[in-house]
Amino acid sequence: MKINRLYKKYWFAFFIIILFDSVYTYVWPTGSNRILTISCVILGSVLCLSLVRFYLQEPLEEYGLHLKSPHIQLICILLITFTISFLAYYRNLTKDGTTLVLTKSTLKNIGELFPVSFTILLLASVTYEEVLFRGFLLTFFQKLTDSSFLGVFISAFWFGLMHYSSSGTLEENLERLISAFIFGIIYGYLRVKEPQKFTLFSLSIGHFLNDFIALILPAILYA
């Protein structure tokens, strides 16, 4: 259903979600307390889904959330994650003398670097990002502009902007922005083109694995 521009409900839901996200990102001191951050991102995901289901009264399937054929979803997302990760780390793998060997000390090192609470935080954060960008915002812009391309593009651009931080050099930030933008384009495209295989469930798993590999690979390579 295309949004009627006068239909205030959608804009109100959009406004609430953006307000929550802005408060969570820029105002709330989230970095200091891990449990508080986990609670915030879970609250954000629940808020998005509740607004869609109970306020807008639309089926969650339309926003990319369903659990039909989860095994197919898992296989597809593993395939895509492998593809992206292989391309991203191809140069690391071809460096002379670099071999991926998992020793006991490496595993211990990984365990020390990434405790359970951090893993839960990562999982909750990526779920929130997927629900927000590939779930609500993508569908919202898709309906608003009546174009899948624009929906994917705007949500991916927004996703990229969210990864632009105030710290770090301009080059680092630009690289992060472009990287997140491309990631958003790929995930958005898959969500729109293959809604049965790439749902918010599978995309969250893929996003988690992608981030986890990005964090874990240096620990393995340079252990």
Binding site: T83, F86, L87, A88, Y90, L93, E175, S179, I182
Partner: protein, 210 residues
């Protein structure tokens, strides 16, 4: 004729193309003639022997500007993932400028561009053009055709380079190209995929040159 069944003609065609590919690999020739001859032969086989339209093999020049944009975007995405961290951002214009100055000093090296484009086009016509279309007629599920085609292109790459990682890269990129060729046939034709493939080879060469 039932389009889902491959006739003897298709079998013969497949045999000729595989034979040609193996000959190309055995001779390990870097000359431009063999890929160009192979491309012409593939086109002749489709048009005069199989008597089928080129567009059913992904060869079409409709909306060429869209195809070029899509090819460039695909190349940019793949290259960003492959070489995004190879240099710092500000050094790229310098490297490309130096590379181009090298080329302008040796005009004969412009053949290099034509050579790699011919190689890319030949591989795309063979794998994403003929093989993928044949597999699509045999298997009902497109994913099977895409994966088979990607594995074949990886195996072919392994025969040429004897490098397992490069072969896996060929499988991965082959999977992406095949997926897009089937799901976006208007935007990702053999031409636009060849453009992306060409840029991938060219940028890899630039980085190795540097």
């Amino acid at each position: 004729m039932n389009k889902n069944i491959l006739s003897k003609k298709h079998g013969t065609c497949l045999f000729i193309i595989i034979l040609l590919y193996i000959l190309t690999v055995i001779f390990k020739t870097n000359t431009i003639y063999l890929p160009v001859l192979n491309i012409i032969l593939c086109l002749l086989l489709i048009h005069y022997y199989l008597r089928e339209p080129f567009f059913s093999y992904g060869l079409s020049f409709k909306k060429i500007h869209i195809q070029i944009i899509c090819g460039l975007l695909l190349a940019a995405i793949i290259l960003f993932y492959l070489y995004g961290n190879a240099f710092t951002w500000n050094i790229y214009p310098f490297v490309i400028g130096r590379f181009m100055r090298h080329f302008s000093s040796y005009p004969a090296l412009w053949f290099y561009f034509f050579n790699i484009f011919a190689r890319a086009l030949y591989e795309e016509i063979t794998f994403r053009g003929i093989f993928l279309s044949f597999f699509q007629r045999i298997f009902t599920k497109p994913l099977v055709s895409i994966v088979l085609c990607a594995i074949l292109s990886g195996a072919a790459d392994y025969l040429v380079g004897q490098d397992i990682l490069r072969a896996v890269l060929a499988v991965v990129t082959g999977f992406i190209y095949g997926y897009l060729r089937i799901n976006e046939p208007e935007k990702f034709t053999v031409f636009s995929l060849s453009l992306a493939h060409f840029l991938q080879i060219f940028c890899t060469d630039i980085i190795e040159f540097w």
